[in-house]
């Protein structure tokens, strides 16, 4: 059986907004998946680690809620029209949202071992306290390659680092910043639900389809 060594990060998150773009100028929806671009961006920003990374929120640890807030108009010294944002919060009182992140083992990702117990922030509205996360565990794991439906989103050109073989992909787009991290473009990515051969830790359930 084929397998792969990966680094597994376990995160605890207080609340988070993995936002899409504002809709209609007033509402920001929130996703319940962890895009590869979000995780990579956070790891680079806080630790300088540049490595492929994928992850997901553990089911039954989160629920949706909404907040409204408004931007301060400095010229007029008043609040602008309120905006609404959907966000994820813990499903049960006194608990936190759980997330798992996986990185291939390379020179960059090995540096993560030093950061157990550290805090990072992911997603939007960090200034309002969203996205505070703590790395509660880091370990190296071995994961068998199986056929199943993908639980994560990943850039198409990074699938090789996870030994992912596409069988029936669902494509979407994720934002990839340029080297200066000022601009960027949207690059094709595999979405959750894609049928792949992949490490079993990032598969929702095993499937037995024939390959075309």
């Amino acid at each position: 059986m084929d397998s792969i060594e990966l680094i597994e990060l376990s995160l605890e998150i207080e609340s988070v907004i993995i936002g899409e773009r504002f809709k209609g100028g007033v509402f920001r929806p929130c996703l319940n998946i962890l895009p590869s671009s979000t995780i990579k961006g956070a790891l680079f920003h806080f630790f300088g680690i540049n490595s492929p990374a994928v992850g997901f929120f553990i089911e039954d640890t989160y629920q949706f809620d909404e907040i409204s807030y408004s931007i301060h108009d400095k010229a007029l010294h008043s609040a602008k029209m309120p905006l609404f944002s959907s966000y994820l919060k813990p499903k049960y009182k006194s608990t936190k949202i759980q997330a798992q992140i996986y990185l291939p083992i390379n020179e960059q990702s090995k540096k993560l071992r030093e950061y157990k117990g550290e805090s990072i922030q992911i997603g939007a509205l960090k200034s309002k306290g969203f996205g505070k996360s703590k790395i509660i565990d880091i370990e190296e794991i071995n994961s068998e390659i199986k056929q199943g439906n993908l639980k994560v989103s990943i850039f198409e050109d990074e699938t090789e680092y996870y030994k992912i073989n596409q069988i029936s992909p669902i494509f979407g787009f994720l934002f990839k910043p340029d080297i200066f991290r000022i601009n960027g473009e949207y690059i094709r990515a595999l979405q959750p639900g894609s049928i792949v051969n992949a490490p079993s830790v990032i598969i929702k359930e095993e499937t037995f389809y024939d390959e075309l």
């Binding site: 209609g24 100028g25 787009f173 473009e185 949207y186 094709r188 037995f208 024939d210």
Partner: protein, 650 residues
């Protein structure tokens, strides 16, 4: 003038005859079952029909194991090809294997036994119920040139008459059976050639039906006999990633329906069945399904396909489940049989080609194309050309965006739908219960006939009948609710999704009508978390984003009834529970106790405290106590009560 066409749907025309009545009037008029190949035409003073369709009367002849050129001499060689394909189609369209049925069937009634409405007994007249009408029947066989005309002409009777009067294959309407036979026949006809007493499909020659189909079972060692011909069933779900930002974006559903209607016109036989966003296709090997769906994928829809490739003898729309289950246990006999017969299952996603795209601004709506800025009301939306064209279709319900918005009303979006996966599971379990109820005795190859029947169940035809009945429910629901001007269905010709100005009275009316019609059309269908039919209601202020209502409708876990009040609660209910809960909440006698519980729920936010309070007052609130004792959480009840109280406080 005799027709030159072979109309496969005419093969069962004998089932439209009131045989008992005719034979009681004239005992000389005899024929075998529902076919007339041995009928003495001199008894009615006409000649035997000479159209090609006449040879459909031989479809019950035992010729499956005989080479085509060696068939009985009385079957005209010119039409053996048609009869051959008809038999293959009849087998594929049947609700269970014909061979097993012959051994296990029991006499039943003239009605379709609807698994979801078992006591329905509709009296009807057979279209051919007299000596004179028999002449009309044979004229029909002789002169009919169009399947569509025949099916339309006898539509009302065909819907009421079962595929077969014998249990357990009396569960499908003759209308659905004939539709399926006709479509499958025409696909096989388009993709086969006949010459030198052989029929060629996909470069493979065949002369014997049994050889072409292979064994019709998969459950023991003896079933490894592979068929010569394979074909494909494709179960297709039309999906989209779009977020509806403005009301005009909802026109996407209109667009989808319009494209699917065009597809049906262009591929009337390939598409065996469709409902809303779900289609079942029957295709030969090598046929590119991408071409059928091209217009949809060009418009940023994507298609999720579950495809099964198998021998004609075992091909069914649930074979993929059997294959996937068998593959989890590679030591099983079924696994060996399916593997040796080269059975395949594929999961495919079809969508437009995006590999060449360079995207710098992603469309906010479809998230899959380059976007341009579109300014409206000082807000800039970034949308692609295709989504912009959808917006240009206009505001589907102008009052929503004007009058209702000005009034700042609360609205309730609602959606009623069928989950086809749950439907198949329920049909399988319901058919199993029916077989057990029939108590069929006997064995076949060492297995109980009843077990074999259950194993060989093919639910497609019953699934179609269920969906047709659901259409009737939805039409009546729209009729009942449409009387009230607060209700509207903003998507043209689309009855499944609507919106109304929220008031408790309107809300309660929707639920009451839904329950009443479900009791009328589906009284024996499961109506809890396993219910194939669900109604979802999403209540919020009109300014609340449209996207979130539709995201609620996309939730995977659905019960018979699902209610969301934004930022307040999100609950689901079985039919039995919501009936009782509404009764309790709307009963003035329970009001003060429920009011007390509501105050306690604010104080204690714990189900245990509330349950104890109900227990302590069970003598005065027996129904409420029984609900809690069954496991219904108190807040499920209180949420409905709060809506009721808000409504009555005006």
């Amino acid at each position: 003038m005799p027709s030159n066409e072979f109309i496969p749907e005419l093969h069962d025309i004998g089932k439209l005859v009131d045989k008992k009545k005719i034979q009681s009037e004239n005992s000389k008029l005899v024929w075998d079952g529902h076919v007339f190949y041995n009928f003495d035409f001199s008894n009615i003073g006409i000649s035997k029909p000479i159209s090609p369709s006449w040879w459909g009367q031989y479809h019950h002849f035992k010729i499956d194991n005989i080479k085509l050129p060696d068939w009985e001499n009385e079957i005209d060689p010119k039409y053996r090809y048609n009869l051959f394909l008809l038999k293959l189609s009849d087998h594929l369209a049947s609700s269970t294997s014909r061979a097993t049925i012959e051994k296990g069937k029991k006499e039943a009634s003239n009605n379709v036994y609807k698994l979801w409405n078992t006591n329905q007994n509709i009296k009807y007249e057979f279209p051919f119920n007299s000596f004179e009408s028999l002449k009309n029947l044979f004229e029909e066989v002789n002169n009919c040139t169009s399947s569509k005309d025949f099916l339309n002409k006898y539509n009302e009777s065909l819907k009421l008459i079962p595929e077969d009067k014998s249990a357990p294959i009396n569960i499908t309407s003759l209308s659905t059976h004939l539709n399926l036979v006709g479509k499958i026949y025409r696909i096989l006809e388009k993709n086969t050639e006949f010459g030198n007493d052989k029929i060629i499909y996909n470069d493979i020659e065949g002369q014997v039906i049994r050889d072409i189909e292979g064994s019709r079972k998969t459950d023991d060692e003896n079933n490894k006999e592979k068929g010569l011909w394979q074909a494909r069933f494709l179960k297709c779900k039309v999906k989209y990633n779009h977020s509806f930002v403005r009301l005009q974006d909802v026109n996407l559903i209109n667009k989808r329906n319009s494209i699917i209607n065009d597809m049906l016109q262009r591929n009337p036989d390939e598409i065996l069945f469709y409902s809303d966003d779900f289609l079942v296709l029957f295709l030969p090997l090598g046929h590119q399904e991408g071409l059928i769906f091209k217009e949809l994928t060009n418009e940023n829809f994507f298609i999720e396909i579950d495809e099964t490739v198998a021998d004609l003898g075992i091909l069914s729309t649930i074979l993929d489940n059997k294959v996937n289950n068998a593959r989890q246990d590679t030591s099983s006999i079924r696994y060996e049989v399916l593997k040796s017969r080269d059975t395949k299952v594929f999961k495919k996603y079809l969508y437009g080609d995006t590999s060449h795209l360079k995207i710098y601004q992603l469309c906010e709506i479809c998230q899959s194309q380059n976007a341009k800025p579109v300014k409206k009301d000082n807000v800039t939306d970034w949308i692609c050309d295709k989504c912009f064209n959808v917006r240009k279709m206009g505001v589907p319900f102008i009052e929503y965006a004007t009058t209702w918005e000005r009034e700042s009303v609360d609205v309730c979006w609602f959606k009623i739908e069928i989950n086809q996966t749950k439907l198949i599971e329920w049909l399988k379990s319901s058919f199993t219960d029916y077989i057990k109820f029939l108590d069929i005795k006997g064995e076949i190859n060492g297995r109980k006939i009843s077990d074999v029947l259950i194993d060989e169940f093919r639910p497609l035809a019953v699934q179609i009948d269920f969906n047709n009945e659901f259409d009737n429910l939805v039409s009546e629901l729209k009729q009942e609710l449409g009387i009230n001007s607060d209700f509207t269905w903003p998507i043209n010709h689309y009855k499944l999704t609507g919106v109304f100005k929220y008031s408790y009275e309107n809300f309660s009316n929707v639920i009451d009508q839904y329950i009443k019609l479900h009791d009328k059309f589906f009284p024996d269908c499961v109506s809890d978390i396993n219910s194939p039919i669900s109604l979802s209601l999403s209540i919020a202020n009109i300014k609340y984003p449209l996207r979130e209502h539709f995201r609620y409708f996309d939730s995977e876990v659905k019960n018979f009834l699902n209610i969301s009040k934004t930022n307040v609660f999100d609950e689901n209910y079985s039919k039995d529970n919501i009936k009782i809960i509404k009764r309790i909440c709307e009963n003035k006698g329970s009001s003060s106790f429920l009011h007390k519980l509501t105050q306690l729920s604010v104080k204690f936010s714990s189900d245990i405290h509330l349950s104890v309070e109900v227990f302590n007052n069970r003598s005065k609130n027996q129904e409420l106590f029984e609900l809690i004792a069954k496991g219904v959480k108190p807040n499920k009840i209180l949420n409905i009560f709060k809506l009721y109280k808000e409504g009555s406080n005006g």
